[in-house]
Structures are given as C-alpha cells and as structure tokens.
Amino acid sequence: MSLTVPGWLLAGLLLSAAVTWALRRWRQAAAASGVVLAGLLWLWLRSVTLDDQTSLFLVYGRTLMMTEGIRLLFLWLVAAAGMLFVLSLLWPQGRHFVPVTLAVLALLAVMLMIRPFIFGVLAWLAAAALLAILIEQNGQIRAALRYLVMAVIAGLLLLTVDWMLAADQAALQETTVRLVALAFIILMAGLPFHIWVSSLVMEASPLVIAFLLGLVQLALIFFVYALLAAFPWLQEMAAFGSLVRWSSGLMAVTAGLLALTAADYDRLIGSLLLLDMSVSLALLLTPVEMGWETAVLVPIVRFVSLLLAALGSGGLQAYLPAGGFVAWRGWGRRFPLETAVFAFGILSLLGLPLTVGFSGRWAALILIAQQPMVGLNLPIVLLLAMGGGIYGVWRGLSPLLAKGEVDFGDGVVINTTRMRLAALILGLTGGLWLAAWPQAALTYAHRLANVWLLAD
C-alpha cells in the first residue's frame, strides 16, 4: 500500500503531533517545532498536484479522497494553525496545545476526505473528544464537558441520518430532515444548544477559541455543505428552513440581549461570537451554490477577528487582574497598542464597516435578505442584535479608553518584549490591510467555494 497525497497529509499531521507531543514538557520547543512542521506541511501541500491516482488513498477498503477544494482548505488550516503556534511561542499555552491541535487537524482531514460519510462522522466524534482536552485549562472543565456532550449528540444524530439517507424511504424523509437540522444547529451552537460558547470564552485560552470557532467551524461547514450538496432535497423541505430560521433568529436575539447586559469582556466576546454564529446558521437557509462562498468567508474573517482580539487581550491580560469592564479603566492609555489591537478585534467580530469582519457580515445579510422563504424579518433581527452588540462594545471600550489610575497590583512586572511588540504591530497592520482590501478574503473564499463546487 503506497502513500498518496491524502495518506501523506495524514502521516505528516500525525507525525508532527507525535513529535510535538514528545516535546510537550518544553513548551517553547514544542511550539517552535510546531511552527516548523506546519510550515513544511504547508509548503508540501502547496506543491502537490492532484490527479486520479494521487488523490485517492485506500485504508482497509475505505477511500480517502483529496479534492482540490480540500487541498485549498488545508492550506488555510495548516497556515492558520502555524500562526497560532507562533503566538503560542510569545504567549505560552498549555502543554497539549500544539500536539492536540495537530491531531485534531488530522482527524478533521479524515472527516472531510473519507468515504462513506459514516466514517467521517466517527472521525468527528474522535476529534470532538480531543477538542475537550484542548479546551480544558487550569482544571476548569465545564466548557470542555459541555462541548463534548453537544458534539457527541450531534455526531450520534448524524450517524442516524446517514442510515436514513441510505435507506431512502419516503416515510423517513420528514424525520431525516428534522434530525439533520437539529444536528447542524447543535454543531453551529444554535439556540438552545449554544450553552457551551460562553463557557468556552470564559475558560479556554484565546488561541484555543480562535482555533475552535474559526478553523474547526470552517471544517465543519465544509462537512455540512458536502452533505447538503449531496442531498439537495434536505434544504428544500419546509421543516429544515423552519427549524434553522427560528434557531438562528432566537440565537441572534439572545446574543444581542447578552451583549447589552455584558459586564465583562469574556461575556461580551461570547455574545458577539454567538451573533456571528447565528449568521453562519442563517446562511444554511440559502441554496448551497449561492450561500457556500459566504458561509466559508464568515468563519475565515471570524478567525482573523479572534486572532486580533487574542493578540490584544494576550498583551493586556498578562498584567490585568480579573474583573469587569470597570477594572480596565485607564488601561487603554497605559497600553495603547494592545488596546488598539484588542478593540479592532472585537469591532471586527461585531462586523462593523471598516473592519475585517464587515465583508463577511455584509455579504451574509444581503444574501439572507434575498431568500424568498426568509424575507426581511431575519436580517432585521440580525441588525437589531448587532445594535445590541454595538452598545455592549461601547460600554466595554469606554472605561478602557477613559482616563484613570492603573493599578498593577503586587508583584506585576511590565515585560512587553520586542517580539510581542512586533506581533502586535504586525497583527494590527495585517488587520487594517484586510479591512481596507476585503477582496483579499473575498477572493480566497470565492476560489475555495468554486474549486470545491467544481470538484465535488
């Protein structure tokens, strides 16, 4: 059995995970080797060409198939994971961060490449279990448990759906559609299955949040749309639209209310994330060939926004005692660069104009409003929820930018290294560039969507 491109990708990711696992006691060495290995994988993935022979890999009679769309997706996933590892050099993460991230990427690769679909779901269940390890931090396990439970329920529903789709019985169609919608709503944290998102923001490290809600969600969107493209009648059934519409609408309302009442940055970011994910969910109401491009764009810009927020908050939280908005009074003036990056990140997450997140939000709102079965109600609800988010962000940022005495507390040493400073400047410049030229992200999403649709 000779290795072809899918096999080499898996072997590369698993080997990288093993190497960094062996180095996990030395966190900087693990992070540095993660950066190098991710870079090598990216270069290799960029250079490979796919044809009928090299794109297929057989394992115990099951086929792993690498399409051009999946190759492009993994170019992004591996590059983005490399960026996270670079940041983990500057702001050290837990000892499992690098190896588990790489192992999750390997399982996501299996999930997307393997045929039949049922094995992809099983790979997802294993990936979700590893993600729980990644989420846990300092003995706080509430978010990890919640995520694990939700992911397992969604996975089990998809296993049942797989059998129902294969059975192809008219009597089961209605049940299949309801189960599919339910599974997708759970995977995208739709109401009432959103309970893990706020816990995640409170407990997990900012880099893990960016990985989970930016990169893993993007892979899941690929998975979800692959199923919808293979069985287009699922989206056409009224029950699907109804469940998704109600869930995304209520999720947006909840997010808006939570943003209005947020008293600290964790809760504020959690509510903005919910709002963004309600947009992702609402995009399931658009036909695959229309909504696919925007559905890809939204998690890509979400990742960039979360990365910026993580960069800024990583700089600030190194010194900051726990507390609500008031505890940050005056910090913006003391640390202007960190504050600028952090503020730009959360404004992007909100999707305001002149930020990175605007391109995705605007395209999504326009597209959703154009759907005859949706009408204007859902876009109006999303806009109102954004209003709640704007008020929440204003409440959050005003004490940060206000004048005030900064209390560092006992034993805090101010230590902004040159490397951290460079990362902050680079992050802010990159963010501003992406905000000024949104076509960079749009073009990538367009290419990814088109290649995927053509390949599959």
């Binding site: 115990y60 269940l125 003995g139 694990l148 397992v152 049942t160």
Partner: protein, 238 residues
C-alpha cells in the same frame, strides 16, 4: 470452560424485557448514588445488561466484544477515580482557581455519609427526575408514532431501553459538574444510541470504530477528571 454461547444460555432469563429493566435499573442507580465506586460497579453491570440486549441484534461474538470494551472503559475510569480520590478529589480539596460556589456544588456539602459510602443530598430530586424520564420513555415506547424506525416488531421493547438510557444519560450529564459523573452520563448516552444503531448497522468496521470512540471518550473523561482533581497536586509537586 463454558463457551460464549453457553454463558448466554445461562443468562437467558435476563434477555428481553428483564434485561431492559436491569439496564435501566443500573442507570437510575448511577444517577442517584454518590460514591464513585458503587457508580462504576453499576456501570459495569449496565454493560453486561446492554450486552444481553446486543445479542438480540448482533452476532454474540460481537456482542461480547462490546461488553469487554465496556468493562475496559470501567477499568480506565476506576483507575482514574482511584487516583483522583488519592490526590484529593474525594477529600474536599480542589484546584486553586475553583470558585466558592463550585466547591459548594462539588464538595462534601451536597453529600451525606451513609455507612462507608455516600449518598447525594439531592437524592429525592434525582429519583423523581429519573422516574419522570423513565415514565416518559415508557409512554413514548407505547405510541406507534414514536417507534424507532427499522426496529423489528419482536424487538419493540428495545425502544423503551433506548429512550430510557438516552434520557437518563442526559439527566446524569445535566445534574452535575463532576467530570466522572457527567462522563458516565455521556457514555450511557452512547450505549443507548448503540443499542439502536446495532440494529441498523452491523458492519464490523463501524462497530469496531464505535468501540474505539467509546474508549477515546473514556480516556478524555479520565483526563478531565485528573485535570479537575489531580493535576494541581502534581504541579505543586513539580
């Protein structure tokens, strides 16, 4: 040495509805008992009862593999429980960042001692909630509209087992912040699902991968339990 088939013959009095009652009885016991050792003992019994129900849908040799995988899960969790108890999980010591409200929820405060073992002080609430779930599962299992698709009529009693076990698993997860206890809820949910799925899908590869997923889940639950109770002690030692 008796063969698998002889063992199944000897336990034939537990097949069918009696097996369902044993399965759900152990699930109710897990939901309300406070001591982790009794919980795991009941959990091992639950895998045996599930194995007897699996025999109805699968080749007995595959069913026994499922029981063995389940017992292996119990072994992993027993070792974890032992280590967590040794390093303070059972003695009221918690990670440094645990908030007061979590200590109240997790600690000795909500347990009462009864002989050498502990019972949860929310026992009556848990029992009532478990009974409501069992009643709902039974009512649903009687209604044709809620029969599980593709389940042969002679296995109709499995509907009660599947609904009941999934419901009790979810109850177990929702009533606690303790990773070991919540983890057993997740595994019960998996077992409930697998009882149904084994009727639908009998491919050996899928069954093997499901067993592997169960083992991965057990390892993750073990990790989270260690992270919750044992790791601060280890880090202090380092």
């Amino acid at each position: 040495m008796p063969t698998i088939f002889e063992w199944i013959d000897r336990l034939s009095f537990l097949r069918g509805l009696p097996g369902v009652y044993l399965l759900l009885g152990t699930a109710v016991f897990i939901v309300f008992v406070g001591d982790w050792r009794l919980m795991l003992l009941a959990f091992a019994g639950q895998y045996l009862a599930a194995g007897l129900l699996f025999v109805e849908a699968l080749d007995p040799r595959l069913a026994i593999v499922k029981v063995l995988a389940g017992w292996f899960v119990c072994l992993i969790l027993y070792m974890t429980g032992r280590q967590a108890a040794d390093s303070g999980g059972g003695n009221g010591r918690f990670p440094v960042n645990t908030r007061a409200v979590q200590i109240t929820n997790l600690g000795q405060g909500n347990k009462v001692r009864g002989s050498a073992y502990r019972l949860l002080s929310t026992l009556s609430f848990r029992l009532v909630a478990a009974l409501i779930i069992l009643l709902s599962a039974w009512v649903l299992a009687q209604r044709p509209g809620y029969f599980l698709p593709a389940l042969p009529p002679e296995l109709a009693y499995m509907t009660f087992a599947v609904y009941g076990l999934i419901g009790l698993g979810l109850l177990g997860v929702s009533l606690t912040a303790d990773p070991l206890r919540a983890g057993l809820g997740v595994l019960m949910l998996m077992t409930g699902f697998e009882l149904y799925y084994s009727v639908l899908e009998q491919s050996v590869a899928v069954l093997a991968l499901l067993a592997a997923v169960n083992l991965i889940l057990a390892l993750v639950i073990a990790y989270l339990t260690q992270a919750r109770y044992a790791r601060p002690m280890l880090e202090a030692e380092e």
